[in-house]
C-alpha cells in the first residue's frame, strides 16, 4: 500500500510550471527521498501534498485522503519539518511541546522525554535563543513525539553542522525503525539522503527523471575504467547506457547506467580487445551528479 500517490500532479505559479505531471508512489514504511537541484520543484511538491498549496491539475492522495481535503484529522498522523517553517520563536522548547501535545491523541510522553534527552535540548530556552540546528531538532521532536504515520521533511539538513545532522538522522532512523513509519524527504544533501533513503526520485525542472529503490539505483550505476591494450580503437558506436565517456591516454572511463557485470564486461571486451575492465560502485551523490549533467547536456542538445 502506498502512503502517498500522485497522478499527473501539476502546479503552476503564473506562467511558471514548478511541477509537471508528476507521478509518484511512496510505499508504506519506506524512507523516500526527493532529490533535485534548487528550483527542481521538490518543495512545491511537498507543499501540494501537505495542502499548503492547491494543485493546478492532477491528483495527490496522502494517507488515502485527497491532498486538497487534508484536514485536521489526517494531520494528527503527519509530521512535517521544513527549513522554512515559521516556528513560534518566542516559546521555550517546553512551551512548544506543551502547546502541541493536546492536538495529538497519540502523543507519547515517554518518546518525548527520550528524544529530549537524545537531542540534548534545553527545555527552558526560547527557540529564538537556540541555534538553527537546535531549533530544527526541536521542530523534529514536536513532529515525532506523536508517532506519525507519515513524516515529511523539507530540506531538513540545510545549514546544519555535521554533528547536528547526525543527531537528526539518528533520530529519524530510530523512530522509523520502531514501526511502520513512512518518511518523505526533499533534499539536495545527498550524502545524508544516502544514509536514510531506501527509495529515491529525482526531479528536474518540475519533471520526474528517475524513481526507484536506492539499492537498485546504486546497483545499476558503475564507474567503469577500461585500460586499453596495444590497440586503441575510436570511441564510436558505444552503447547509449554508457555516459560521460572520456579517454585519458590508454584509459577509457565512463559511467554505466545499466550495469550488469557480465554484460558490461562483455561489451567492453567486444570493443576494446585485451582491455582490463574495472567497475567501481558509485555513491548516490556521484549518481546524482551524473544524472544532473546528463539532463543539462540533453537540454543543450535539444536547444
Amino acid at each position: 500500500m502506498n502512503q502517498i500517490e500522485t497522478r499527473g500532479l501539476t502546479r503552476r505559479y503564473g506562467r511558471t510550471e514548478a511541477v509537471h505531471a508528476l507521478d509518484l508512489e511512496v510505499p508504506n514504511g519506506s524512507v523516500f527521498a526527493l532529490l533535485g537541484p534548487n528550483g527542481a520543484g521538490k518543495t512545491t511538491t511537498l507543499k501540494v501534498l501537505m495542502n499548503l498549496l492547491a494543485p493546478t491539475s492532477g491528483v495527490a492522495t496522502v494517507l488515502g485522503v485527497d491532498s486538497r481535503r487534508l484536514g485536521a484529522r489526517a494531520r494528527t498522523q503527519i509530521g512535517y519539518v521544513s527549513e522554512n517553517q515559521q516556528l513560534p520563536r518566542w516559546m521555550t522548547v517546553r512551551q512548544v511541546l506543551d502547546f502541541c501535545r493536546p492536538f495529538y491523541p497519540t502523543w507519547d510522553r515517554e518518546l518525548e522525554a527520550a528524544l529530549l534527552r537524545q537531542f540534548d535540548l534545553p527545555e527552558d530556552r526560547k527557540l529564538a535563543h537556540l541555534s538553527r540546528g537546535m531549533a530544527m531538532k526541536a521542530a523534529l521532536l514536536a513532529s515525532l513525539a506523536y508517532r506519525p504515520k507519515l513524516l515529511v521533511l523539507d530540506e531538513p539538513f540545510s545549514g546544519l553542522d555535521p554533528l547536528v545532522r547526525d543527531d537528526f538522522i539518528r533520530g529519524v532512523l530510530e523512530v522509523s525503525a520502531q514501526g511502520e513509519w513512512t518518511v518523505l524527504l526533499a533534499s539536495h544533501d545527498i550524502e545524508e539522503v544516502e544514509r536514510l533513503a531506501d527509495h529515491v526520485a529525482m526531479l528536474e525542472e518540475g519533471r520526474r527523471t528517475l524513481c526507484e529503490r536506492t539499492e537498485s539505483l546504486q546497483a545499476r550505476f558503475r564507474r567503469v575504467e577500461v585500460t586499453l591494450g596495444e590497440v586503441t580503437p575510436a570511441l564510436e558506436g558505444l552503447p547509449t547506457t554508457w555516459v560521460e565517456v572520456e579517454r585519458a591516454g590508454r584509459v577509457v572511463k565512463f559511467v554505466e547506467t545499466r550495469y550488469e557485470r557480465d554484460a558490461t564486461e562483455g561489451a567492453c571486451r567486444t570493443r576494446f580487445v585485451d582491455a582490463a575492465v574495472v567497475a567501481k560502485p558509485m555513491t548516490l551523490r556521484e549518481i546524482f551528479l551524473v544524472l544532473a549533467r546528463q539532463g543539462r547536456t540533453n537540454k543543450e542538445r535539444a536547444a
Partner: protein
C-alpha cells in the same frame, strides 16, 4: 490556543493599556491646566490641545491595529510557512481562538481598565453601559478590519501597507468620488444613514474576508471579497441618496390642511435671484410646544405677475449644515415664527428680464419634525457658570470682532475627575437666545472636542455666532438642544409671495 495568544500578547497589550490609562491621566492633567488658561490665550491653547488629541488618538488606534496584526500574524494565514498549517488545527477553530483573544485583550480589557476611572468619575449605570458599548464597538470595528487585513497579508509591513491603502481609498471614496459624481448635496442629505450603511459594508466585508481566509486560505479570493466591500463602499457613497425609511418618499400633506404658515423673503433684488441667493422661510408651526417644525427642502416655480417664470429648488444654505439649520427651529419657542433660511440652488430662467418684481412661489416644501430638550441655560457672560446635574458650563470669554466668538468650556463635574464625560451619541448643538426679546442667534461650533481617552474627554466649545450680535449685552442664554428628526412630510403651496427682505409680506398657507 487562546492561552498561547494571551501569553504572547500579554506584554504588548499591557503596554497599550498603560498608554490608554496614561492618556486618561493626561486628560485629568489637561483639566487641571484648564483652570489656569486665560480667555485670551484659550483659542491658541485649544488648537494645541486638539493637535495633541489627534496625536493621542492616532497612536492609540495605530497601536490597536498593530496589536490585532501581531495577534493574527503570530499564526499567519496567508502563505505556506506558518507552523499551525501543518498541525491538526482547523481554520475555523483557529479563527474562533483569535476572536476570543482579540475580544478579551483588545475590546474587553480597555473597558475593564477604564471602569474604575469611570466609576470614580461618577458615571451612573446608563452612562457606564453607554460608554463601554461605545468604546467596545469602536475597538471591535477597528480590530475586525485590522485582523482581516493581517489575515490576507504575510507580515506587519504588508499589513501596514494594506491599512494605509484602505485608508487612502476610504478618503477617496468619502471626499473625492462624490465630488466627481456631483453627489455632494444628495449625500449630505443622507449622510447619517449612509455612514451606518458604509460602516456595515466595511466591517461586514472585513468580517467576511476574515472568515473566508481562515476557512479556505484562498488569499486571492479573500482580497476579492475585501475589494468588493470597498467597491460597495464607493457605490454607496456615489449612489445612496436617501435615508433609511425614506425610500417611499415623505408623505404628502395637503395645503388645505393649513397646518403650517410660511413667509418667504429674499435678500437683494427679487428680479435677480441667482443660485445661492438666500430666501428666508419663516415657519409658523400649527401647535404650541414640541415637536417643532423645520423646512428641509423645496422645489417649484417662481412666477412674476408679467408672465415670467423660473423653476427653482431650495436647499439648505451652503455652510450652515443640516444640524445647524435644525437648531434654528429647535428652540423652544413654538408660539412664535421661527426664521429659516434656504437658498436658491438652481438658477431661475426668467423669460423676460425684469429689474424689480415680486415673484410668487408654487410648489412643494418638505418639512421635518424635530424633538428636543433644553439641557441647561447659561447666560453668556465671561466667567458665567451654569450647572445642571453634574454638567457644568463655564463661559471663558467673549471675543471682539464682527463675528463674535465665544469660548465656552463644558465639563462633567464630578468630585474626583471633574472633566469626565461620556461620548455624546445624540446630536448635541447650541443656540443662543436673547431672553428679553426672544431674538435668536445661530451659533456654529468651530471646535468641540478638546482631548479625550477611553470615553472621557475635555469638551471645549469654540462657538462663532452668526449673524453678529452684541453678545456683551446681558440676557443672552446658551441653550443646548437634543434633536431627532425622524418624521417628514411634503406640503404643497400655491402662489406663496416672496417678499424683499425688510418688507412686510404676509405668509401663506
Amino acid at each position: 490556543m487562546v492561552r498561547k495568544d494571551l501569553r504572547r500578547m500579554a506584554w504588548p497589550v499591557l503596554a497599550w493599556l498603560g498608554f490608554l490609562v496614561a492618556s486618561a491621566i493626561g486628560v485629568v492633567l489637561v483639566e487641571c491646566q484648564l483652570e489656569r488658561v486665560t480667555p485670551g490665550a484659550a483659542a491658541e491653547w485649544m488648537r494645541g490641545l486638539r493637535s495633541a488629541s489627534i496625536g493621542v488618538s492616532l497612536i492609540g488606534t495605530s497601536a490597536l491595529v498593530l496589536l490585532a496584526g501581531v495577534l493574527v500574524l503570530e499564526d499567519r494565514v496567508a502563505g505556506t510557512q506558518s507552523f499551525w498549517l501543518t498541525r491538526p488545527i482547523a481554520g475555523g477553530r483557529l479563527l474562533r481562538a483569535k476572536l476570543i483573544a482579540a475580544g478579551g485583550l483588545l475590546v474587553v480589557a480597555p473597558i475593564v481598565v477604564h471602569l474604575p476611572v469611570w466609576l470614580v468619575a461618577g458615571f451612573d449605570g446608563r452612562e457606564l453601559v453607554r460608554v463601554a458599548w461605545h468604546l467596545g464597538l469602536v475597538n471591535a470595528g477597528v480590530v475586525v478590519v485590522a485582523m482581516a487585513l493581517a489575515a490576507l497579508t504575510e507580515n506587519l509591513g504588508q499589513q501596514a501597507f494594506a491599512v494605509l491603502t484602505t485608508m487612502g481609498l476610504s478618503v477617496l471614496a468619502i471626499e473625492v468620488v462624490p465630488a466627481v459624481f456631483d453627489r455632494t448635496e444628495a449625500t449630505r442629505a443622507a449622510i447619517g444613514t449612509q455612514a451606518w450603511v458604509i460602516l456595515g459594508i466595511f466591517v461586514g466585508g472585513a468580517g467576511a474576508a476574515l472568515s473566508w481566509q481562515y476557512r479556505t486560505r484562498r488569499t486571492l479570493a479573500g482580497w476579492m471579497i475585501w475589494l468588493a466591500a470597498l467597491v460597495g463602499f464607493v457605490g454607496v457613497r456615489v449612489g445612496w441618496t436617501w435615508e433609511c425609511g425614506r425610500a417611499g418618499g415623505p408623505p404628502a400633506m395637503s395645503a388645505e390642511g393649513g397646518q403650517i404658515a410660511v413667509a418667504l423673503t429674499a435678500d437683494g433684488e427679487l428680479g435677480e435671484l441667482r443660485p445661492g441667493a438666500a430666501i428666508q422661510a419663516v415657519v409658523t408651526p400649527p401647535t404650541k410646544g414640541p415637536p417643532w417644525v423645520a423646512p428641509w427642502q423645496g422645489r417649484g416655480v417662481l412666477r412674476d405677475f408679467e408672465g415670467g417664470s423660473a423653476e427653482v429648488e431650495f436647499g439648505l444654505r451652503e455652510g450652515w449644515g443640516f444640524e445647524l439649520a435644525r437648531l434654528l427651529t429647535g428652540v423652544k419657542r413654538a408660539d412664535s415664527s421661527l426664521p429659516w433660511e434656504l437658498a436658491v440652488s438652481r438658477r431661475p430662467q426668467w423669460e423676460r428680464p425684469a429689474a424689480s418684481r415680486s415673484p410668487v412661489f408654487s410648489g412643494t416644501m418638505e418639512f421635518v419634525h424635530l424633538e428636543g430638550e433644553v439641557w441647561y441655560e447659561v447666560p453668556v457672560q465671561a466667567g458665567a457658570i451654569g450647572q445642571r446635574g453634574a454638567t457644568r458650563t463655564r463661559v471663558m470669554g467673549v471675543a471682539e470682532g464682527a463675528k463674535e466668538t465665544l469660548l465656552v468650556e463644558e465639563r462633567r463635574a464630578a468630585r474626583a475627575f471633574p472633566i469626565v464625560q461620556t461620548y455624546p451619541l445624540e446630536v448635541d448643538r447650541y443656540v443662543l437666545v436673547q431672553r428679553s426679546t426672544g431674538a435668536l442667534c445661530r451659533v456654529r461650533a468651530l471646535g468641540q472636542r478638546g482631548v479625550g481617552s477611553g470615553g472621557m474627554l475635555v469638551d471645549i466649545l469654540m462657538l462663532t455666532a452668526e449673524p453678529a450680535v452684541d453678545l456683551r449685552r446681558e440676557g443672552w442664554t446658551l441653550i443646548k438642544v437634543r434633536l431627532a428628526a425622524r418624521e417628514r412630510w411634503v406640503q404643497e403651496f400655491r402662489d406663496l409671495p416672496v417678499a424683499k427682505a425688510g418688507s412686510s409680506e404676509k405668509g401663506g398657507q
